[in-house]
């Protein structure tokens, strides 16, 4: 069991590094994670089944802005190991995956808060001229902390047995899970507000509402609104350069004036 726990733990670390070190290539998706766990534990067919089931559940979860979605990496690693080792169905694995994913989400929130304090440390290191040290907060400490925080729970879960995990997860009360779910919806609102605050002013605020209402009333996806936005910008740009041509004044100052009116 020690070696199995070790291998599954390392798969978990690799899957988590996908979004940290590899730009989120989707190795972290349940279908991939569960298949890897299945291969490692000698039951790839079961891994595939669990992976497909979990993948369907997590398809809707999109990581964006400040969102920390339920952590399907931790969820799918533990759940697929659980399904294979205790020989239960893919559906039973799902009931383990979601609470564990919420547990992972809590770990994620704590880590992201911890790293906020690294900012001050890195800035101090820069002031002292210790550039290598400043960089190491990002590229050395970050991965090490993540690796430990993922490896240890997964290793313990597999090593101590999945019964221990499910009874621990049952201890988490429903109000806490529901509350954290609501919190995880409010956090992206903060992320969007942060993004907004870097660009918005009184003149261009109207475009935020344009995008919002197109999506809210038209039930359109973000990518379709982005396409409309690009088209609108092409039109605005034509309009602005059209003005330049009609005027006899030098065009460079005009195009700037037009921009002020945006």
């Amino acid at each position: 069991m020690f070696w199995k726990a070790l291998i599954v733990g390392l798969i978990g670390v690799f899957a988590m590094f996908d979004s940290r070190l590899l730009g989120r290539e989707n190795f972290e998706q349940p279908l991939i994670v569960s298949t890897l766990v299945g291969l490692a534990l000698g039951d790839p067919a079961k891994g595939l089944m669990v992976g497909a089931t979990l993948q369907l559940v997590s398809m809707g979860i999109v990581a964006v802005g400040a969102a920390t979605p339920p952590d399907m990496v931790l969820g799918s690693v533990v759940a697929s190991a659980f399904a294979i080792l205790s020989n239960t169905s893919a559906q039973a694995a799902l009931t383990v995956a979601l609470p564990v994913a919420v547990l992972g989400q809590m770990i994620g929130i704590v880590v992201r808060m911890l790293f906020s304090s690294f900012n001050q440390l890195a800035n101090k290191a820069i002031d002292a001229g210790k550039f290598k040290k400043a960089r190491s907060y990002h590229i050395v400490y970050g991965p090490i902390i993540y690796a430990l925080l993922y490896f240890v729970p997964i290793f313990l879960a597999i090593f101590l047995g999945t019964n221990a995990v499910s009874s621990f997860v049952k201890l988490i009360p429903a109000w806490l899970t529901n509350g954290l779910t609501l919190a995880s919806k409010i956090l992206p609102a903060y992320g969007f507000a942060l993004l907004m605050s870097t660009m918005i002013d009184k003149k261009n605020a109207v475009y935020l509402f344009l995008g919002f209402f197109i999506a809210a009333y038209g039930k359109m996806s973000v990518i379709s609104v982005a396409i409309f936005a690009v088209i609108l910008v092409v039109i605005l740009n034509k309009f602005m350069s059209g003005n330049d041509n009609n005027n006899t004044q030098p065009s460079s100052s005009d195009s700037l004036d037009d921009l002020e009116e945006l």
Binding site: N26, I32, Q55, V62, N119, D127, L180, F192, S197
Partner: protein, 278 residues
């Protein structure tokens, strides 16, 4: 000829650094400034190259510190498109080092800021939306039939566009930046591009508020009055918009990030327990 070869090799090394450091931008993702340390790490080779590993004069050292601090500013963008921003910013840093009197270093951060909104809006929905859905839609289908090629296919579909966009983004950003940045800044085109970019960025953020938050209220009185239905009849997705502007207000009031985090988490739990929102 030898000179040319040396430059090519240097450039290729630079592009591969943009590539890997863009992918590795999230290891220190934090609530306060998000990917800022990752961006600083991505810019480090360029800054070190300009001012030297160990700057020999105090002025150089100060400039190097300023440059490092400059790239510790708030940043958040899809990693695949970040390489483009890294390339462009590196070209601008080099431009600034070459013409310190005419080039305003502040413009580097304003270009970054104006790019990250539109790029992350488009990039997240492209990679985390479109590509992921295609890759795993096909992958799940094959996996359910017990075909091990399902996950492999999903990874192939995921990695190829991601790698191409990341590599060419960095290369294109750097080369275009080298060629055009001075021209763009001097004739005011960059201001125009920036405000047009803001239009796209804000529309995309508006759409994200409407589609990706999904806060609702379970409040109802009796059988006939369901608050959510009433809210929807005024306009849909009112609560997500209200929450976003609430957060925006807190940011404008310069409330400390740690406090906002506490408000989000404790507030979320309280509001959920009291049955006001879910």
């Amino acid at each position: 000829m030898a000179e040319q070869k040396h430059t090519d090799k240097r450039l290729r090394h630079k592009f591969s650094q943009f590539f890997w450091r863009a992918w590795a931008i999230q290891t220190s993702w934090n609530y306060e400034s998000q990917m800022n340390m990752g961006f600083m790490y991505g810019m480090a080779p360029t800054i070190d190259e300009i001012y030297g590993e160990n700057p020999d004069t105090p002025e150089k050292l100060q400039k190097k510190k300023d440059a490092y601090h400059r790239h510790m500013a708030f940043f958040n963008c899809t990693p695949q498109l970040t390489s483009f921003v890294l390339g462009l910013s590196s070209a601008m840093e080099e431009e600034y080092a070459a013409n310190p009197d005419t080039f305003d270093p502040e413009s580097i951060n304003s270009v970054k800021t104006s790019l990250m909104g539109p790029l992350s809006g488009i990039g997240d929905s492209f990679f985390q939306g479109t590509i992921k859905i295609i890759a795993f839609g096909l992958g799940i289908n094959m996996a359910q039939q017990g075909n091990l090629f399902g996950p492999i296919l999903a990874m192939i579909i995921s990695i190829i566009p991601s790698a191409i966009v990341t590599y060419w983004g960095g290369k294109w950003g750097y080369l275009q930046g080298k060629k055009n940045i001075q021209k763009l800044i001097s004739n005011g085109t960059i201001n125009r591009i920036m405000s047009l970019m803001n239009v796209i960025g804000l529309m995309v953020i508006g759409a994200m508020i409407a589609t990706m938050i999904g806060i609702t209220t379970p409040i109802k009185f009796g059988k006939s009055f369901v608050l959510q239905t009433t809210l929807d009849s005024i306009f849909p997705q009112m609560l997500p918009l209200a929450f976003t502007f609430g957060m925006f207000y807190l940011i404008k009031k310069k409330v400390n990030t740690a406090w906002i985090m506490v408000i989000c988490i404790v507030g979320g739990i309280l509001l959920s327990v009291l049955g006001i929102f879910n």
